[in-house]
């Protein structure tokens, strides 16, 4: 087939993964494979952007529409930033060739998810993206708490993905096809709706949306913080894209879908924000806040309008950037909130960067998070979800409560004598890139939005 060159980004990532698996042979030890992986991912991002939109591959299994391109580029770029940071980290306990390889493999899966418009392709891509994530979450194999969290993640994830697969099987049985293009659920009756619900339960669980979120807090809290930085962000972008495609494809037959999604959105926003409030562990806090943010994204999906879906993807990326950065800082400074105390004296630049990230998460302009919320709420409001938008903005005030608590600790907290983290140039570059992206994605959103086709 002639279109294989469209998959060059995936090949690049894969090559990176394979090289780092045999990273022992590289000069410079474990650091080099991560940096190499970062370069590969960067090249992948660049290529994906360069290729742009294209005709679908494999008979429509993989599409290269704007949403896909946008998600692929941001996913690869975030992976690159993550590996850059990981490669530059002072402590290497959570970095090794395998981790780099797994991150890159997961990214490949994620990139395929972004383009998949076929149930089989989606299923297998999801598994490719998830399976390395299990390993990353349990990467400290001598830490039983980490493994416990991983096991919970694993079991819940398997159960839900089997439910999803069951749903896929019904969808296939009803329509006789696996590609979304020809999929027509109208008149499928109750079984069609049930199948849709099954599929979404699986995806929602992957995205850690309430009430299918239970794995996330425990798994994050047990996992190495550096892994959380990746797992809590990058795969979710892919998951969001996968989900908006399914929303598009399945809503004609499943009339209850908007209702289902809005219930999930409400549950996620409320539960995530409220439960994040009392948390003292940054990982757990970010887990709950992730649940809350997914709630906003799902609210946009419930609209099932082009704008709403595009806004969902935009928001997801706008969330992933600062969220990854916050967890990275937590990985450097210690995952308990109180360990951030005195950060402003210790590492002022990091502290101010943290402010940018947290405020973006709250939704304060001119950070990306604000613009994400703006488009998202506009889409939802326009689709008639007014009460939900009001709830969402109220919940974002609640979220400000716990994000500010982190800020307060970093700026006004009693100084604690934490050993200074060794600063490295790559890690600094990574954080700077994230700051720039968090600010720039909002201020210079015009081309992105135009690309995604957001218009109200």
């Amino acid at each position: 087939m002639s279109g294989y060159w469209l998959l060059i980004p995936e090949y690049l990532l894969l090559a990176g993964a394979l090289v780092s698996l045999f990273g022992d042979l590289l000069p410079g030890g474990e650091r080099s494979s991560a940096i190499l992986g970062a370069l590969a991912a960067f090249a992948a991002a660049a290529f994906a952007g360069f290729i742009g939109t294209a005709e679908p591959l494999f008979g429509g299994m993989l599409v290269f529409d704007p949403v896909s391109v946008f998600a692929r580029v941001s996913l690869a770029a975030l992976t690159s930033v993550y590996l850059l940071w990981s490669g530059g980290r002072g402590t290497g306990s959570e970095r090794s060739h395998e981790a780099t390889a797994l991150v890159l493999l997961s990214a490949v899966g994620g990139m395929l998810m972004c383009g998949a418009r076929d149930m089989v392709a989606l299923f297998i891509a999801i598994e490719l993206s998830t399976m390395p994530a299990y390993v990353l979450m349990g990467y400290r194999r001598d830490d039983d708490r980490g493994l416990e969290g991983t096991l919970k993640y694993f079991l819940l994830s398997m159960t839900t993905s089997l439910i999803m697969l069951y749903g896929f099987s019904f969808l296939f049985g009803i329509t006789g096809v696996t590609g979304y293009a020809e999929m027509d659920l109208t008149g499928a009756g109750v079984l069609g709706v049930l199948a849709t619900v099954f599929v979404f339960v699986g995806l929602l669980a992957k995205l850690s949306a309430a009430p299918f979120h239970y794995w996330a807090p425990d798994a994050y809290a047990g996992a190495p913080t550096s892994s959380v930085a990746f797992v809590s962000t990058v795969p979710k972008i892919a998951g969001t894209v996968a989900m908006i495609r399914l929303v598009e494809a399945l809503s004609p037959g499943a009339t209850q879908l908007p209702l289902l999604l809005s219930i999930v959105a409400v549950a996620s926003m409320v539960l995530g924000n409220l439960a994040a409030y009392p948390q003292l562990d940054l990982r757990r806090l970010m887990a709950y806040s992730g649940i809350a943010h997914i709630g906003y994204v799902i609210l946009a999906m419930a609209t099932n309008t082009n704008t709403g879906l595009a806004a969902a993807v935009f928001y997801m990326v706008a969330y992933a950037l600062p969220s990854m950065a916050v967890v990275m800082i937590a990985a450097e400074e210690g995952s308990a909130v109180e360990q951030l105390s005195g950060l402003v004296d210790r590492r002022p630049w990091t502290a101010w960067a943290l402010v940018v990230f947290l405020l973006s998460l709250v939704g304060i302009p001119p950070m990306a998070g604000f613009f994400g919320k703006l488009y998202l709420f506009t889409a939802a409001f326009g689709a008639g979800y007014r009460a939900l938008v009001v709830l969402a903005v109220l919940m974002s005030v609640v979220s400000a409560g716990y994000y500010l608590r982190i800020m307060r600790e970093a700026f006004f907290g009693e100084r604690v004598s934490t050993p200074a983290v060794e600063r490295s140039i790559p890690a600094t570059i990574a954080l700077v890139l994230l700051v720039v992206a968090t600010l720039g994605m909002g201020i210079a959103a015009s081309p992105l939005l135009g690309y995604l086709g957001v218009s109200f």
Partner: protein, 634 residues
Amino acid sequence: MGYVLAIPLLPAAAFAVLAPLSRRLRNGAIAVSVGAVALSFLLSIVAFVATLPGGHEAEAAYHAFVPFAHVGDAVLGAGLLLDPISASMLLVVTLVSLCVQVYSIGYMHRDERIGWYYAVLSLFTAAMLTLVLSDNFLQLYAAWEVMGLCSYLLIGFWHEQEAPRKASLKAFLTTRVGDIGFAIGLLVMFNTAGTFDFATVLHGMEWAPQTATAIALLFLFGAMGKSAQFPLHVWLPDAMAGPTPASALIHAATMVAAGVYLVARALPIFEASGVALTVTLIVGSVTALAAGLLASVQHDIKKVLAYSTISQLGYMFVALGAGGLVAGMFHLVTHAFFKSLLFLGAGVIIHAAHTQDMREMGGLGKHLKVTTVTFTIGSLALAGVFPFSGFWSKDEILTVLLHEGHYVALAISLLAAFVTAYYVARLWFRVFIGPQQTSDLHEAHNEMLIPMGVLAAVTVVVGFASPAFAHFLGHEGEWPALGMALGSSAVAASGLLLGWFMYGRRTKVINTRAIKQRVDYVYGALVNKLYLDLTYEYFIVRPYQRHAAWLGRFDSNVIDGVVNGAGRSWRALAAVGWRFDASVVDGAVNGLGQLVKSAGGRVRRLQVGRVQTYQGLVVGVLVALMLWIVVKGV
């Protein structure tokens, strides 16, 4: 005639110079301030001459207007209006001000902050001149408020002591209660007329009676605050805590007369209302009599004069209430001179006797010759004795009342005149006659005596200008009718006689030590009465004393009590409000935060840590959804 602008501007400039430098300058301050007001006085004479031969008030000799604000369709501005009324007021204000300032050189020379004192006096003079030259009510109000501030500053001049501080606050706030009325009156006026200009609102439009009544009553309320009319008069006696020359200028001659001036200016509106005139008349007569009675039981010389001022202002209101613009204004003029004269004299007396309590004075006449003469002239003028100025103006008022048929008011006024004469005599005899109680008495310096002399001279002669003044204001002027003159003289004489009878014919010192508990007027009164003729005592004096004493208590307990109580209850209310704010309003907000926190704690309990529970919950939700879908169908 641009020099008119300089009349208020000179003292204002003096203030601008003195205010920042008040600590550095002493003699310089005096020179600047006195020089400025002297120049103003000269210019005022020129301006007065320019307005001759006078005429109707609407015909201004000079009018200038500078807009300072454009709001919507309205143009607000500052203007200078020189007409007979303002010209005569200019003379009065600058002359009294000049006299007081010169007098203060001697009176205040030992005070450290004399520079500041002169600065405020200059500001006051500027404000008062601006007020009388106003061509619109807004500017008048602005000047009115600034005067209030000056009054506040001067009453509290010796702020290291508690009493002046309290008195100053009380004075400012009480007058401001009236000012609210004035301000709302302005709102109503602007709402109807769209402007504050005299030309329009006084002469240029027809007022609907209801609107006119509203505005007039609100203005009257403002005037009552400023001019210390019952029941807003309570601040004035307390205001005597300030320096005496300042009291002479502000709380006797000029500022307190501003209320009268306001009503006089706004008289067309009052006349359009009708009701308001009656109310003015009632307020004036009640005040004239009640304050006179109160004056006659005071022992503090300044308080006697303060109540007397209230009473005389009441007279002016009576005159205006009867429609007697000329009479009211003329009494304002004469009163300004003789009352400031009395205050300045009182200042000398206080300096000499080192007390303000009349019971500790006596026999001053032998030592303070000049003061005695001038004070006597002032007293006679106040009592309304021919040929001093008070006689003429009071007679004019009584004539107006007679002409207009306000017999009740006339009776009250005559009674008030009697009371006035009585307390004047009481004051005079107690201070100047009788045994000397203080040693080391000496006459004041010339810079204090000369102003008094000037004022005394004016007091002697100004009364004869009575018809001329009426002509000047564009009204018919006549000499008082003989019958009325005789009648009023008789009343005054009987009052004086009673005063002499009670205080003048004594040869012995009254038991001052026993009366030292000044607070108890009743006790004092009882002691006093021992020397009196029994008959007289039972039928006239005792009821009189009782009523006066009762009125004194009523005044200090009820009316003043209401004012002070309002202050206290406001404070209590404020405390309650603060507690409410801190606990309820703020508590609600903080409670919301707590709610979120506890809800968060509750939600996180769902996360039990057991994976099968998680799976059960996930699948459970799924099953619930499935059942719902299956049961509901598509």
